[in-house]
Symmetry: C2
Subunit: 129 residues, 2 copies
């Protein structure tokens, strides 16, 4: 059983932007919009090992995401969770899967493919409106 309420599951299924909040090693919050996907168990994000966010989630795996509905802006879902796994994505395959989900046509893998990783976030609690 997922902690994600049935009423707001569509916000994870649609290619919306997730504002991903992480905590920096100095304890300050960081947040920015990210591509993601959802398979009913994990939220998946693409990132690289040379980004601040990688340093954040490897120091503190606790994260939270906020997604609102562009068609009904007062409708939103917050998911709190933990980065349970970080998988390498050295060919950029997962990046390309996400690009396709977001209808972005690319010529090939990203230039930084060798540093690409996938964050698997397990939701632990949610809030919504």
């Amino acid at each position: 059983m997922s902690v994600v309420p049935e009423s707001h599951r569509d916000l994870l299924e649609r290619p919306l932007f997730a504002h991903l909040a992480t905590i920096r090693p100095d304890g300050l919050p960081q947040v920015n919009p990210m591509w993601f996907s959802w398979d009913g168990e994990f939220l998946y994000f693409t990132n690289t090992t040379v980004r601040h966010k990688y340093r954040n989630v490897t120091t503190n795996p606790q994260v939270a995401v906020s997604i609102n509905d562009p068609d009904q802006p007062y409708r939103y879902l917050e998911v709190r969770g933990v980065v349970e796994r970080i998988d390498p994505d050295p060919t950029g395959a997962f990046f390309l899967t996400l690009a396709d989900r977001y209808a972005l046509t690319l010529d090939g893998p990203p230039a930084d493919a060798e540093h690409r990783v996938v964050y698997l976030v397990r939701p632990t609690s949610t809030s919504h409106q």
Copy 2:
């Protein structure tokens, strides 16, 4: 001089939703969409003293917000800052000012006006794309 880049100032001037990340007393991040306004010095948010967020920012005033451009979704601004002041808003006057900014017509002050407060967030740094 504001730390907000001229190129992305419009994202603070338009009535967009700011995904406000705070840190809970247990150290976990929390994030959700919020109304806000901006006067060139502070970001202003309405909240109440009975919300989790109030407990968060009175424990740890460090916050971050993420705002993306609905017309160009890869364009965004992240503002990190500190809740420098919390002003009472017992008549809900600031709440009504924000409602007007967001084109929401209300019959009068919110039912929870007596608990309403205004967070004044001073930006300390930004990132953008």
